[in-house]
Symmetry: C2
Subunit: 231 residues, 2 copies
């Protein structure tokens, strides 16, 4: 059985889309939610789409943290800090936490095509300040369209992975390439999440303007820079 | 004869690369530089690469501004504000000024993979504050690799064009698609330059890490959102 990934905020569009894709890839997925019943319902609905054998379960967020040492955080920015403070005792030492939070101005009633300034520089760096010592934070999966993830087509998007822990970067890149179409790129240090998070707001603006489901591809790097799915 | 484009700071790698590509496309190009002799030398060198008939000349920056109403600004961020103040009397009313400036931290001795905060939100918005009334500012061409522009291969990069003047956006998009391989995308308002400028710093970081000449492609928008060269 593969190392389980717990998706905190896994009933939202981004979290459930990632859960669907990872369940299809044979990963063991735990959907986390404030409400265990909602989490179980989402797990059921994903199993129905994937297969009755799909390894997907639902738990309350803290229980999900306690059940895995690979965590994927997909919550709106306005809930991020408070939730992390609540979950701190439940997060296991040595865990890898992948953060896809984008500090959209929509969090305070503004536009989803604009961002807020975060004191630490990025939502991911805020997360790094709030997790227990010894937990490695990775920023990734911000730019992957939730609509596309929740569909059946290949995902035409690169996932830029930023972390100060090379081993955690590797884990997140391996998870990224389980999604058909995705290429994972090592984006360097966690501080680079500042820019990767902003790209989501740009894509939101392009989606509104052009009525699409925008993603991003990085061109011009040597082949070795792109990790992709072994077929 | 086509409307001339004056490239302010046209002897640098980005400016000369754009000049080369536009000269090849049959555009009339004026290289601007602080030093008229350097501008003329760069114009000569581009004519030698393109053809003796290529419409490329060199002028001091202020004279270049006075000779065109389509201006392309490619100067390092540390010189941008001061130069615009100097050039203000020379910039013609009704001009379109395309700004490719990126506020890299390298401007103050920091890293080119990091950016500075600009009071107005972006380098392009700073420019908008400094040009004469009635001049339309467009942000574009930040993410196109200077190395690739100065070569002979197609440019594997989208150009996101941001402006508050739809007519100026159109002009910049037309200029962008003269570069083989480039697709132009309307990126909305000038304020979105905040994000487009940041992407350059991300690409610089990726180039250092992976030894490449990174560019960016936007995926997932409807065909109509992408303007490309008529062949």
């Amino acid at each position: 059985m593969s190392r389980p990934v717990a998706i905190i905020g896994g009933t939202g569009p981004q979290g459930s889309g990632l859960a669907l894709r990872w369940a299809r890839a044979g990963e063991t997925v735990i959907i986390g939610s404030r409400d265990a019943t909602r989490a179980e319902k989402m797990a059921d609905s994903i199993r129905q789409r994937v297969s009755p054998q799909a390894q997907v379960s639902g738990l309350e967020n803290a229980a999900a943290c306690a059940a895995a040492d690979l965590l994927m955080l997909t919550v709106p920015f306005e809930g991020q800090a408070e939730l992390l403070k609540q979950l701190k005792p439940a997060i296991r030492a040595g865990s890898v936490l992948i953060d896809a939070t984008v500090p959209l101005a929509a969090s305070v009633g503004g536009r989803a095509s604009r961002t807020l300034g975060v004191w630490q520089g990025s939502a991911a760096q805020q997360t790094a300040e709030l997790v227990p010592k010894g937990v490695s934070v990775v920023a990734a999966f911000h730019n992957v369209s939730a609509d596309v993830l929740n569909g059946d087509d290949d995902v035409d998007c690169d996932v830029l992975v930023c972390s100060d822990d090379p081993q955690a970067t590797k884990v997140a890149m391996e998870l990224a390439v389980k999604i058909p179409g995705v290429r994972a790129i090592d984006g360097g240090k966690l501080e680079n999440a500042r820019i990767v998070e902003q790209i989501t707001a740009l894509l939101v603006g392009l989606n509104i303007r052009h009525k699409g489901h925008g993603g991003v591809r990085i061109t011009g790097l040597p082949e070795a820079a792109y990790q992709s799915r072994k077929r």
